[in-house]
């Protein structure tokens, strides 16, 4: 089990691996050039330094709505490279037994350093919390899966915000400038359908899969990723999405992926205060029904799936999710097949429409 205990210096094993990963990144940029991009997330600047264009082209479209040209000192710097397009390899400093199912590398997670290998996307991420600097490596930028492109760097943001009242969570969010709802639940529960159905209303869109929440001083959600993903079987319910798909040739093996900036740029919002937690349940019935739920029900929809995806700092993350949920009323949204009813019910909840 990876425990944040010893190994907080650059001479420690995790420190030496971080230094080696950073040196390999610098070697990669020497060959293919450096591409720097900056993004603003909750009044902080994230600087992404890419070795060449390959990863930059794949990972930044989801973050484009946060891009800035300001040269402010970065609060977080991530150095990203791959081996296939740069020719620079990176060797693991551990054996097979060090890999945990949720990604943490045993012996390489300390108070200062975080190290994880995300299986499936096959991303190696190592963060020096003291220097607020991370290295992101994949073997081949061309093999980065669509889901990683839809929520790039979510683990880096999770680690970065560990000591702050912010937390990436597995949820969608829609609302108005004065307030909205967080739509929580595991994959397949109806988050995307609910969020995308709201695009045809006055509700704004802050994400359909991963958003950043703040629990103090008051509940607020921030848009991290300007993307939407939908099961291919559900595309007929949102037909307008088809013309803007990023991956129309890969729908036999991928969810449909769209970048809101190209499809519905006016619907993207930076965020809004959270007024309620909503857990969708797909019923197959025509009508959409909203009913009150217990806080624990919302927590069960939000916390296990989020904590599974994000390795490390689980206790802190659960405490932040708990603090958020305790401040908000919780509801179950029984999602019907008549999509216009979905935003109507949410607008009713937000006090913008009278219940019929």
């Amino acid at each position: 089990m990876a425990q944040p205990t010893r190994g907080n210096t650059l001479n420690s094993q995790p420190g030496q691996f971080f230094a080696e990963a950073l040196a390999r990144f610098e070697a990669a940029t020497a060959g293919v050039g450096l591409v720097e991009r900056r993004f603003r997330i909750v009044d902080r600047t994230v600087r992404l330094r890419f070795a060449g264009r390959a990863l930059e082209e794949r990972l930044t479209p989801a973050l484009e709505h946060l891009a800035t040209l300001e040269e402010a000192a970065p609060d977080l710097t991530v150095c990203l490279f791959d081996t296939a397009t740069t020719g620079v390899a990176l060797r693991a400093a551990w054996d097979a037994s060090a890999y945990s199912p949720r990604g943490e590398i045993a012996g390489f997670n300390t108070k200062r350093f975080r190290t994880a290998f995300q299986q499936g996307a096959d991303v190696l991420l190592v963060l020096d919390r003291e220097r607020r600097q991370a290295v992101y490596w994949v073997a081949d930028a061309g093999q980065v899966p669509y889901w990683e492109r839809s929520f790039p760097l979510r683990t880096a943001f999770h680690w970065w915000f560990e000591d702050l009242p912010f937390q990436p969570v597995h949820a969608a969010a829609v609302g108005l400038a004065e307030g909205g709802v967080l739509i929580a639940g595991p994959s397949g529960c109806g988050k995307s359908t609910t969020a995308l159905a709201c695009l045809e209303s006055e509700l704004l869109y802050a994400g359909d899969d991963y958003v950043l929440v703040q629990h103090a001083p008051s509940p607020h959600v921030f848009c991290l990723y300007g993307t939407a993903k939908l099961e291919v079987d559900n595309l007929d319910r949102i037909p307008a999405m088809r013309a803007f798909l990023d991956n129309p040739d890969r729908l036999d093996r991928e969810k449909a992926l769209v970048f809101l900036r190209s499809w519905r740029p006016g619907k993207l919002t930076g965020g809004f205060p959270i007024r309620a937690l909503v857990t969708p349940r797909v019923t197959g019935r025509r009508d959409t029904v909203l009913r009150r739920a217990k806080a624990a029900e919302a927590v069960r929809a939000l916390a296990p799936t989020t904590l599974y995806h994000l390795p490390g700092a689980e206790r802190e993350a659960f405490a932040k999710i708990g603090a958020l949920v305790r401040q908000l009323p919780s509801y179950v949204l029984e999602v019907g097949t008549d999509l216009p009813q979905i935003p109507m019910k949410i607008l009713e909840l937000l006090g913008r429409r009278e219940a019929p």
Binding site: M1, Q3, A89, L90, R91, A92, A93, W94, D95, A96, Y99, P101, R102, F117, Q119, G120, A121, D122, L124, A139, Q143, P145, W147, P186, S187, K294, A295, A296, V299, R300, A303, P304, T305, L307, Y308, H309, E314, R315, F318, A319, I321, G322, V325, R326
Partner: protein, 147 residues
Amino acid sequence: MDSVTVAATERFCVASSKIVWQSFDDELVVINLESGTYYSLDRAGAVIWRLAELGATPAEAVEHVLQSGAPPAARRQVLEFWGKLVQEGLISPSADGVEPQAVPEEVVCTWAPPSISVYTDMQDLFLLDPIHDVDEAGWPSRPAETP
């Protein structure tokens, strides 16, 4: 499933740092990040969890709930519930010499038989095949999977 029998005078602790919990109104939600199983404990169950977490023995927990006004039948119910927590791998005997912590005043119990709900729908995600094979650079060699 029958619960296991526990030694009434043994001290226990939360079994792993990968077990996390939070309380909400009258429920306690516990997540075991190693197995993917998560749990909901009712009010009485949450009190027993809190006592176990503080290092009380099962016998001390029984004494605590009886002093709170629980009926004599609570003795068996506490011990059975304690056994369920052990059986689920949520608590385990603590190392010798661990001192129990004082029970805060707010840990009180309006007695009802304690219950625990077990949720296993996340287990498929948690129980990925362990990595056995790595390439010459030390990275796992496996086909991509969807999240």
